[in-house]
């Protein structure tokens, strides 16, 4: 199995950094070897694809804008009115590729184009609001919410996976800039890289 190199491999140094006395405000762990797929549909195909999805994955709801549907090993996210993204463990890739016929849409594998970090801790929201302009308040961005947005002009996908847990997914080529913003911002709260 070939190793997929992380764009952060040269700069992601493990340890505790920044200003802290007892409690570390932010914990950073890179999510590696994930699968990221994007499926794009032609609008007329949406209704039939919806029912296929719900049946195949035994879902109650189809992912709508901003709401994440959790599968066994991953998450389904609506990345646009006629687009769906899968983020998680490899597996569903072939199923999804087979599911979407030439008449309905197309699937593109984007696993190498992204880099992902798991962020958690008591100050995770304070750190995020120093780069993300979307409302991250309790009711506006509850557990399970997601948003495609930007940090300093770089596209990101933010998923809230727990009360103080987030997944931040961004483009491989902008990884270093995101890392610099993240660590410089988190320094005032103390952060740990696992």
């Amino acid at each position: 199995m070939l190793e997929r190199k992380s764009p952060l491999s040269q700069i992601r140094i493990m340890g505790k950094f920044g200003h802290f006395s007892e409690e570390i405000g932010l914990t950073i762990r890179e999510s590696k070897d994930f699968t990221y797929l994007e499926m794009s549909f032609w609008d007329q195909a949406m209704p039939s694809l919806r029912s296929k999805f719900l049946e195949l994955f035994a879902l109650k709801d189809f992912p709508e804008s901003g709401l994440t549907i959790t599968l066994k090993g991953g998450r389904l996210i609506r990345s646009g009115p006629a687009r769906l993204a899968y983020y998680g463990e490899p597996g569903p890739e072939d199923v999804l590729l087979a599911m979407v016929g030439g008449d309905e849409g197309s699937v593109v594998s984007l696993s190498h184009s992204r880099c992902a970090l798991h962020l958690s801790g008591s100050k995770v929201k304070d750190v995020l609001e120093r780069g993300i302009r979307v409302n991250l308040g309790e009711s506006a961005f509850p557990v399970g919410a997601n948003a495609f947005t930007e940090i300093h002009g770089m596209s990101v996908l933010l998923i809230r996976t727990g009360a103080s847990d987030y997944e931040l997914i961004f483009m491989r080529t902008t990884a270093r800039n995101i890392w610099t913003w993240l660590t410089e911002t988190a320094a005032q709260f103390g952060y740990e890289v696992l």
């Binding site: 997929r4 197309s106 984007l110 696993s111 991250l136 506006a140």
Partner: protein, 991 residues
């Protein structure tokens, strides 16, 4: 070392006498206490002279206790942390604070430029526009002296060592100001369960409650404040930000605030930013910004010791500092009397109370008499006198004429109060003009309440603290939807009070209406005389209100003065518009973390580490960092690229092409779509082949180029230029969503998904054969523009045989995470064939030798025909730009066409941008015939060459012209030739 006694410090105040703080002013070591501002500490130490004025270098003292301060502007800090023009009245004191007075030389007491006062006749309004009109050149000569004499404060050119950040907040209610109105509004909304943010520019909450003894209901202001603050602490839904100024109010209820996180700390924490800029998006905003006291105008009203009455009261009540031992009060406000009584009762000799009103309320009259304070009703101060401090004032009855007689009274300070001006600035920034209220004799916010914000407390004209609290509660309830009746501004009854601005004789001495910019009432009158009559013109011609204090002390007085001069109703005069920021912002706060390398985002190739380890020098290309050249043994860029270019033509080289835009295109209408966006045809492209494509804009100009590969019947892989990628993607998404939604095509950017290297040179095929054992790379298996895909020990590989350099070449891609594995494999395969690495410089040289167009030729002003690519255009189909490219001007014979240029002397280098002229020896004049676009030294030809755009270029092939640069003072003879310098038949890539 025991602290020098603070001669003007008295009892009381909120300062902590157990925490003395040592600081320096103009090199003198002084002491204050925790809780002091720099201004209160200076006053406590008897330092009344704090600066020299802008134009006239007059001695100046502290005038206020807040953000309206025009005089006490100091230079704070040392070395790379110098901040000029800091208001001493807003600066929190800390141990080790170092401040210097400004605008004086050699010293504050003995300023050589105070001689400017002697030339004051020539320094009046608009003098810049009138001086040195003749002889020509005089202004250029004298300007540098004038500029050096002007200006306040010195900054530093050293880089800012501090960090700053931006924070984004969303809230139900934002309350600006923490006086009785702001605290009430915040608590009202908090109790209702709303998310509240309260911002206060001071380091303590309380606003006016800190400054004077107020009562709320029947408890003291201090107790009321204590109770409200403890209530506030209980609410988890309230965020309180002190040291945070709301500087700007923008559309859709966005409020910009800046927090001084560490400007009050002796030893800042390097991990924490110095300042934070908040973008607060509030559903509703309560403006509780209060009111600022208004000064009177009289001759020499700028002498140290003259200050606002409420400021003196703040210094006494909040900081325990006496501003003078023998004050004279000049006021038309009842509340100022209470302060005079408190001073007298405390043992200070109040020399007089001067009140322009003839009828003083009898209770005040009685008490004044009882305390033995001389009272002068119906009187005004005409003039003050003193040397570096006020010593006496001249009083006159209000009714007397300009040159009437008066009496002198001795004093060491003048405390004046002519009314209160609501702080309407933030609402004015939103475009809502303030409204003149005759009862208040000042300006109220134009809208007391709107759908998204409301004005509370003294901002809305309320004076009594109980009324303030009650109205503020209503404002909050209305905005959060608890009540339906909109609260209003306070309508003060109109009463007969003499105007603030009176007509002074010129013999009174300079009467300053804008202290920071040294603008006098005479300047305002002069502006009127010279025809600058409107408020907008007066402001700009005299510079009143344009200093860093934005005229907080002077604007209202100026408007009253203008109304008098013009004989107009002040209500109809209008006002200028306030602009953000409310108080000065440091540029660092605006920049946040976008400084240095983070100024704009940069993207790295997945091969970046490989380049770095190989010793590459890097360069930016758009937002990418690309390898530029690989210096061997001390080579500079020129030596390196010449070697690299030569090696590619001779054997083989490898270059990173990952930054090219890459777009995955799928759908039954994909080929049709390509047909519509490219000038050439795509439907017949066989699967497994690639084709060069050129895209036009709707106006017929060339937009971008690239190669597109057909991976399947309905599947294409498009490449674009590096810098054009985002625009091309946007353009295609636009066409599909807006104009042709019926087409079934999906676009996905895969620029980050794939990393690629181009292997170019006569030995490139051999390198691939060595790198990937067992794959057939023969020309039959992989023809020119052919594509193949395979796995090499699990490594997914896509190869397309296409050439930018003109050599036999292949682009080799893999998924980005495997880039380093691909690199290793190719480097290994390249070893036996002497493969070198080359960067963007050599890449450029190679394509220029071949006459391939790139960025400098695709500048948005060239057509396909200009570039010699006209024959690519299909006549069998319509495509974007196909009609407007036929416009008369775009097909004219005189158009500038792509040509090659060879300096007659091969060793002479041209530069891009040189203008092309006839070679007939005539004087180069006018626009010329075209310009040089790309230049390089060609190792293959052993000389300098260039590409250019030349009028009728193709017809001029073989002729001699000149390339001229007046900037470089060069004129070079060049021969026009084909742009395809090297291998013009294109044989080498078909090897």
């Amino acid at each position: 070392m025991s602290p020098k006694p603070q001669k003007f410090r008295t009892g009381g105040g909120r300062i902590d006498r157990l925490k003395p703080l040592r600081f320096k002013f103009d090199g003198h070591e002084l002491y204050g206490y925790e809780g002091d501002t720099l201004a209160s500490a200076l006053l406590a130490n008897g330092q009344h002279l704090v600066g020299r004025s802008f134009k006239y270098h007059r001695p100046r003292g502290i005038y206020t206790a807040g953000v309206d301060e025009p005089n006490a502007l100091v230079g704070l800090g040392t070395k790379d942390q110098v901040t000029p023009n800091v208001q001493a009245t807003s600066q929190e004191l800390y141990t080790g604070l170092t401040a210097v007075s400004q605008n004086r030389w050699p010293s504050l007491k003995l300023d050589a430029l105070s001689v400017n006062s002697l030339f004051s006749r020539f320094l009046s309004a608009g003098f810049y526009y009138k001086t040195f009109m003749w002889p020509a050149g005089a202004w250029e000569f004298y300007e540098k002296f004038i500029r050096r004499a002007a200006g306040i404060g010195k900054g530093t050119h050293l880089p800012d060592p501090d960090s700053y950040e931006h924070v984004h907040k969303h809230t139900d209610l934002l309350v600006i100001g923490s006086g009785p109105a702001g605290l009430t509004a915040a608590l009202t909304a908090a109790e209702a369960g709303k998310q509240v943010i309260l911002v206060e520019q001071d380091f303590e909450l309380g606003g006016s409650l800190l400054n004077r003894p107020l009562t709320v209901g029947n408890i003291s202001g201090e107790d009321w404040l204590k109770r409200r603050l403890s209530e506030l602490e209980v609410f988890k839904n309230v965020t309180v930000l002190t040291r945070t100024t709301a500087f700007g109010f923008y559309e859709q209820n966005l409020v910009g605030c800046v927090e001084k996180v560490q400007d009050h700390l002796s030893i800042p924490n390097l991990h924490v930013p110095r300042q934070r800029l908040y973008h607060i998006r509030a559903q509703k905003v309560v403006l509780a910004t209060g009111a600022l006291e208004r000064p009177f105008l009289f001759g020499n009203n700028d002498l140290p010791g003259i200050m606002l009455s409420s400021a003196a009261e703040t210094y006494l009540h909040r900081f325990g500092v006496l501003t003078g031992h023998r004050p004279i009060f000049y006021t038309n406000q009842d509340a100022a009397y209470d302060f005079a009584f408190a001073l007298k009762t405390g043992g200070t000799e109040v020399a007089a109370i001067v009140d322009p009103r003839r009828d003083i309320p009898s209770a005040l009259f009685q008490k004044t008499r009882a305390l033995g304070i001389p009272l002068y009703p119906g009187s005004r101060i005409v003039r003050a006198e003193g040397y570096q401090r006020v010593r006496k004032v001249l009083l006159q009855p209000v009714k007397s004429g300009r040159d009437g007689k008066g009496i002198w009274r001795d004093c060491d300070s003048v405390l004046h109060s002519a009314g209160w001006n609501p702080v309407v600035h933030l609402q004015s920034q939103r475009g809502i003009k303030p409204v003149f209220d005759p009862g208040l004799n000042s300006y109220l916010p134009g809208a007391g309440i709107t759908a998204d914000h409301g004005c509370a407390g003294s901002l809305a004209g309320y004076e009594e603290t109980d009324a303030v609290v009650s109205q503020a509660r209503k404002v909050a309830k209305y905005l959060i939807g608890q009540i339906k009746t909109a609260p209003r501004n306070y309508k003060k009854p109109v009463h007969d009070t003499p105007p603030v601005v009176s007509d002074n004789s010129p013999k009174s001495g300079k009467t300053f209406v804008d202290l920071q910019h040294d603008v006098t009432t005479a300047d305002i009158a002069q502006a009127q005389l010279e025809g600058f009559k409107s408020v907008e013109h007066v402001k700009r011609y005299t510079t009143q209100g344009m200093a860093s204090d934005q005229g907080k002390l002077g604007n209202v007085n100026t408007l009253e003065l203008l109304a008098n001069l013009k004989g107009e109703d002040q209500a109809l005069l209008g006002t200028t518009t306030f602009r953000p920021p409310f108080t000065p912002l440091t540029i660092g706060a605006i920049a946040g973390r976008s400084v240095g390398a983070e100024l704009s985002p940069t993207r790295l190739s997945p091969f970046h580490e490989c380049h770095r380890r190989a010793g590459a020098e890097f360069i930016t290309a758009g937002d990418w960092i690309r390898s530029w050249y690989y210096p061997k043994g001390g080579e500079d860029v020129i030596a390196a690229y010449i070697r690299e270019t030569g090696a590619v033509r001779k054997s083989v080289g490898m270059v990173d092409v990952s930054s090219l835009g890459k777009i995955d295109i799928q759908g039954p209408d994909a080929a049709e779509f390509l047909n519509r966006v490219y000038i050439n045809g795509w439907k017949a492209l066989p699967i497994g082949k690639a084709r060069y494509g050129l895209m036009l804009r709707d106006d017929g100009m060339v937009m971008d180029d690239g190669t597109t590969w057909r991976l399947g019947e309905n599947h294409f892989f498009m490449t674009t230029t590096t810098t054009g990628a985002a625009a091309v993607m946007r353009h295609m998404e636009y066409l599909l969503q807006v104009d042709w939604p019926e087409l079934k095509v999906n676009l996905t950017s895969v620029t980050d998904e794939w990393g690629g290297m181009a292997i170019a040179g006569p030995s490139s095929r051999k390198v691939l054969e060595s790198s990937f054992q067992g794959i057939d790379f023969s020309t039959e298996a992989v023809p020119h523009m052919g594509f193949l895909e395979f796995e090499s020990d699990g490594l997914p590989v896509r190869i397309c045989r296409l050439s930018f350099s003109g050599e036999l070449a292949y682009e080799v891609y893999t998924r980005a995470g495997y880039a380093e594995l691909l690199w290793d494999q190719l480097m290994e395969g390249g070893k036996p064939h002497d493969m070198i690495l080359y960067g963007s410089e050599a890449l450029g040289a190679l394509r220029i030798e071949k006459g391939h167009v790139a960025g400098p030729e695709l500048d948005g002003r060239t057509t396909a025909d200009d570039l010699g690519l006209g024959r690519m255009q299909s006549s069998k189909k319509a495509y974007v730009g196909n009609i407007l490219k036929e416009r008369e001007g775009l097909i004219a014979e005189t158009r500038e066409q792509l040509v090659g240029l060879m300096p007659v002397e091969g060793a002479v280098a041209l530069k891009a941008g040189f203008i092309l002229f006839e070679g007939d020896g005539s004087e180069p004049k006018g626009h010329g015939l075209g310009h040089v676009t790309s230049v390089t030294f060609s190792p293959a030809l052993g000389r300098h060459i260039a590409l250019g755009l030349l009028s009728e270029g193709r017809a001029r092939e073989g002729t001699l012209i000149r390339a001229v640069s007046p900037v470089d003072d060069m004129s070079v003879d060049v021969k026009v030739c084909s742009p395809h310098f090297y291998d013009p038949e294109g044989e080498r890539m078909h090897a």
